[in-house]
Point group: C2
Chain length 148, copies 2
């Protein structure tokens, strides 16, 4: 319905319609980003062979969304991302001032997503926010590598 | 063979033989406790519903033992123990001096083992050391509980 209306607005111009839809969806994500997240799940991922493991806490607004497959899949892929890409921080805000650190490498949310490097982790979280209709936050992670 | 020899030593006294065997096995465990542990695995456990998760690094001496079912089961049960019993430290040595803390509650190794509360976690690690013939150490753990 939203697509149809936008196509009417743009008089059938698909490209323009897609652009408008994307902007509106991002706006929705931004609005949701202010809502508080007290529910969610803990998810863990251990690499084959058990040499690397990662654990994440991912939060959403309701227990209902926490139990959806989309949300669980997101948490699992985030744990996988942490295991594979060794982030040090969650977001740019956590990086200490004047630290000699590349935020795109060190911050989970800014890293290229391992399963689709054209997107960032933040992008795929935003996609899930758009899908489930709730704000989503990563509140912490831990990563263990054998002997390190 | 060891049992048979001890029974010969004690002239068939089963109780005395069992005592001697236990002492010798503990001695073996103590000797092994000095050997360095650079191999091992990372294991994680997430409680049903995803509200609590735990991750542990458990070390042994060789990759061969790290891949045995006994060792993997130990690591899994230790992760479960951490999830269920919320330890704050690994061993008594880590507890800060004069801290108002009960070591038997706060230290993983001193806690009663959830699957057999007559034993401590240290006891079941010692049993696995006796079984696999290598020193075993817990080097770290992490525990996440939703919203805490």
């Amino acid at each position: 319905m939203a697509c149809r209306n936008v196509l009417l607005e743009t008089k059938g111009n698909m490209e323009k319609a897609a652009q408008i839809l994307k902007q509106r969806s991002l706006l929705q994500v931004e609005i949701k980003a202010k809502r508080s997240t007290t529910q969610g799940i803990i998810e863990a991922y251990v690499h084959t062979g058990g040499r690397i493991g990662a654990m994440v806490e991912v939060n959403c607004e309701t227990d209902f969304v926490a139990r959806t497959d989309e949300f669980k899949a997101l948490a699992y892929h985030l744990a996988m991302q942490v295991a594979a890409m060794t982030p040090q921080f969650i977001s740019r805000e956590e990086v200490p001032e004047r630290a000699d650190i590349e935020p795109e490498t060190a911050c989970l949310l800014l890293q290229p997503y391992i399963k689709d490097p054209d997107k960032t982790v933040q992008d795929i979280i935003a996609e899930t926010i758009a899908k489930v209709g709730e704000n989503i936050k990563v509140s912490r992670f831990a990563r263990f590598e054998l002997g390190r």
